[in-house]
């Protein structure tokens, strides 16, 4: 019996049962291109009702039991008209559900999430679950023409779209470089981009963890003011502006709104990309507990 289990485990681990089969890196395998996975069904009235029930009945209590989320700046959404593109820094699998649950219900019901096609849409069961629970649609990370096609269709259909312009979860907790897809999407569809700063999800569930760390770590979500592409603005320029807006928002969350603005005006804004230091130091620093700068201490220092 023991050897049977051992043999099965070798196969299960070695051949990635239940996950997308991957080829070694020095093997070219054109036939393993991402498959198209239909997600239109996830936006039917029945699926929307099921999603609302899952999100409020399961997801919210679950995330609330594992983290301590707090949301700031949601009032800014009142000035917006959908569709918009929400974008945020990305360092954890907690990011998308936390962000969705931070949105007011009216916005949440009308928001779809761009998820990596090669990760979330590799096998049917994960694709179906992701599409149903967070209203995800596949985004190809390879940067091909197909990569933003689905997102474009969503915006044309009146849906707000949540994307992570870094394209992948940060390896060290700091903000990475932006890819052009989100900026191009805004320019082509003439929609504003709303930055959302997320802090604490890296501390709670960084890459490599399958479940949030114990102790209900604080998670902070802060909405910022939208940025819109100027007439004739090119995607690289707009992507830089988008990243700048998010950097400022992260700084605002670390300090205060006014402090962040003053530092920005002085050109002293701390880089959200983290310190230029050895990898371990970057990870070390990013892992510092998230604290509310205005929180009162029972025993002041």
């Amino acid at each position: 019996m023991g050897s049977l289990v051992k043999d099965l485990r070798v196969l299960q681990r070695g051949f990635r049962w239940g996950r997308r089969p991957l080829a070694p890196r020095n093997v070219a395998l054109p036939d393993l291109a991402p498959r198209d996975f239909p997600t239109a069904w996830a936006r039917t009235p029945a699926a929307r009702a099921a999603r609302a029930a899952i999100q409020s009945g399961v997801m919210k209590p679950l995330i609330g039991s594992q983290t301590r989320p707090s949301v700031y700046g949601a009032h800014l959404l009142k000035t917006l008209t959908p569709p918009v593109i929400f974008y945020a820094n990305h360092s954890s699998h907690l990011d998308a559900p936390t962000l969705l649950l931070s949105l007011p219900p009216w916005w949440r019901e009308r928001t779809a999430v761009g998820a990596a096609a090669d990760y979330f849409f590799d096998v049917w069961w994960r694709a179906a679950a992701t599409a149903l629970v967070i209203n995800a649609f596949p985004v190809e990370r390879a940067g091909s023409r197909r990569s933003t096609r689905a997102a474009k269709q969503m915006i044309e259909g009146g849906w707000n779209v949540l994307v992570f312009p870094e394209g992948t979860r940060s390896k060290d907790g700091w903000l990475g470089e932006f890819r052009m897809g989100a900026a191009r999407l805004c320019i082509e569809n003439r929609v504003p981009a709303v930055p959302i700063a997320l802090r604490g999800t890296y501390q709670s569930m960084p890459r490599g963890r399958g479940w949030p760390a114990p102790g209900r770590k604080p998670v902070r979500v802060r909405f910022g003011e939208p940025v819109s592409p100027a007439e004739g603005e090119l995607a690289p320029d707009f992507a830089t502006r988008m990243r700048g807006a998010l950097e400022l928002l992260l700084e605002e969350d670390r300090t205060t709104w006014y402090e962040a603005m003053k530092r920005d005006a002085r050109g002293e804004r701390a880089s959200a990309g983290g310190p230029q230091a050895a990898r371990w130091r970057r990870i070390w620093e990013a892992g510092e507990p998230v604290a509310d700068p205005l929180a009162r201490r029972a025993w002041p220092r």
């Binding site: 196969l11 051949f15 991957l22 070694p24 020095n26």
Partner: protein, 525 residues
């Protein structure tokens, strides 16, 4: 077009790699950065094999067409490769039988009455009637067995002819009936680049006297490797002998090549690259491994030896030995060559259940040495796959188990010789003659189904180049005391073996793994 062979670099995405482990398999995770060598995909076979055979016989290379060589009243000898080829045995009809049928059709048309067929088994065991029937086909077997279709007897003094000596003083002695024929037609299967050419007649129909000059430690040490005939003292010797044979008798040489589709049907997963395994392949692996692990060794062995390969014939050439063999080698290389950059510190190989000398038999410890340090180690051209002083790690159970019918002298070699020394040169000097001339072994070779008394010595010599080249040899899963008798070390797991090998190769060695089947030949740059 078939995909060429290639060298994989193991990363975190690489699934475990399949290795043979005697009559079983294992999936092993290799350290990241290890290299794994994969054979080219099977080449497409010839669509009309019969037409290709006819074409080769009618348009031979450097010789007259076969029909022109066949005359009434002549003496014709047809010799063919024995059971050591191909591995595994091919699905019937065997290509040897198909070629022989075509040759015999021409002989019958020409009115040749004196036809004799010989299994060119040299000092190997005699083939049984059933085995011969499988190789030559029912029609040929029924027409000639047992009088005119026989095993060659290298100890039949009355039927051996000494044809002279080469310029290096090598005795050339072959089957007398063949030597006195008007024409020898030799039919081979060229599975690897070591096979064929002048080796076919000179060795296949030779005697101990004519095999001894090149089956020795000195020749093996100068054959780097014997899979590369240009740099093989063994082949140079055979070529010199072949010239003497050709002076005495006309040889019409027919060589055939097969693609490398060694496994099909439910065992096709053995052929496939692991990341291309479907769920069906994984299930087939799982079922085969489970069934294997539970079955008694004898049942397991019987199941494995029943496997017949769905090879396709990739080419047939006939005529002058040298010209034919050059064309054959070119086809073998097209199927098997893989370019490999640089040598490794550690070479890993899984030894299969079968080798040339244990078809329908047991791979005993001495054959396991020959298989690993002889054949697998020598699957290179240019430089060995592993550096001088490196380590070779092999997967094999190395049981202290012998086939008493097929390998009687092996048992005594293991008990009497290896208990004294494992040094090939000492063994050759002190013990070879005694075993080679032992009357009991001679009797068993001639009348039973035993390999010649000297055969285990050759297996040991076959490994001598590897033994002197390597700093460490480790059998993973090998029986401890048996492996110790062979002069090597055994380990329980690959991780242990790598740890043990680090004594000679350092803590971060370059590792190359040989992924077989199918077979390949490394062109090491």
């Amino acid at each position: 077009m078939s995909r060429p062979g290639f060298v994989l670099e193991v990363d975190e995405r690489t699934p475990p790699i399949l290795f043979h482990h005697g009559e079983s398999f294992r999936l092993e995770r290799l350290p990241h950065g290890s290299r794994v060598i994969y054979a080219p995909d099977p080449l497409p076979g010839i669509a009309d094999v019969d037409a290709a055979i006819e074409d080769a016989l009618a348009n031979p290379m450097g010789m007259e067409p076969l029909p022109a060589l066949l005359k009434p009243g002549m003496r014709l000898t047809i010799a063919f490769d024995d059971i050591s080829l191909p591995l595994p045995q091919m699905r019937t009809p065997d290509i040897r039988g198909r070629v022989i049928e075509h040759v015999l059709r021409h002989a019958a048309r020409a009115g040749v009455d004196d036809v004799r067929l010989y299994v060119a088994n040299s000092l190997h065991r005699r083939m049984t009637g059933a085995e011969i029937k499988r190789a030559v086909g029912e029609r040929v077997f029924r027409s000639f067995w047992p009088d005119a279709l026989r095993n060659h007897d290298a100890e039949d003094r009355d039927n051996l002819a000494h044809l002279g000596k080469t310029e290096h003083g090598e005795d050339v002695e072959i089957n007398k009936h063949a030597a006195e024929s008007d024409l020898i037609v030799y039919v081979n299967i060229n599975l690897v680049s070591m096979d064929g050419g002048h080796k076919s007649v000179a060795v296949g129909l030779g005697s101990y006297r004519s095999v001894r000059p090149h089956h020795n430690v000195e020749t093996m040490m100068q054959s780097t490797s014997y899979m590369d005939p240009r740099h093989s003292a063994l082949h140079h010797s055979c070529e010199r002998m072949g010239r003497i044979v050709e002076k005495a008798v006309k040889v019409f040489h027919i060589e055939t090549t097969l693609n490398n589709r060694a496994f099909g049907g439910s065992s096709e997963f053995l052929q496939k690259r692991e990341w291309e395994w479907s769920l069906k392949d994984q299930a087939a692996f799982f079922a085969a491994k489970r069934a294997n692990d539970r079955a008694p060794v004898k049942t397991r062995r019987a199941m494995f030896h029943k496997i017949a390969a769905p090879y396709s014939v990739t080419g047939i050439a006939a005529g002058d030995v040298d010209q034919v063999h050059a064309a054959t080698l070119e086809r073998v290389h097209r199927q098997q060559l893989v370019e490999v950059d640089g040598q490794a510190d550690v070479l890993i190989a899984g030894l299969p259940y079968i080798g040339p000398y244990n078809v329908n038999s047991i791979m005993n410890p001495i054959l396991a040495v020959c298989e690993g340090l002889g054949y697998f180690f020598n699957m290179y051209r240019g430089k060995p796959l592993v550096r001088q002083g490196g380590a070779m790690i092999m997967f094999h159970p190395v049981r202290n188990e012998f086939h008493s019918l097929h390998h009687p002298s092996y048992i005594d070699f293991f008990e009497q010789v290896l208990s004294v020394t494992t040094d090939p040169e000492t063994i050759q000097a002190k013990f070879e003659q005694q075993f080679a001339e032992d009357e009991w072994y001679r009797h068993l070779y001639r009348t039973s189904y035993a390999y010649h008394g000297v055969h285990p010595f050759y297996m040991w010599y076959w490994a001598s180049h590897a033994m002197s080249h390597l700093g460490d040899v480790i059998y993973v899963g090998g029986d401890r005391s048996t492996v110790a008798r062979l002069g090597f070390r055994s380990a329980s797991t690959l991780a242990d073996a790598l740890d043990m090998a680090s004594e000679t190769t350092g803590r971060s060695p370059r590792i190359t793994a040989m992924r077989t089947p199918p077979l390949w030949l490394a062109d090491v740059r």
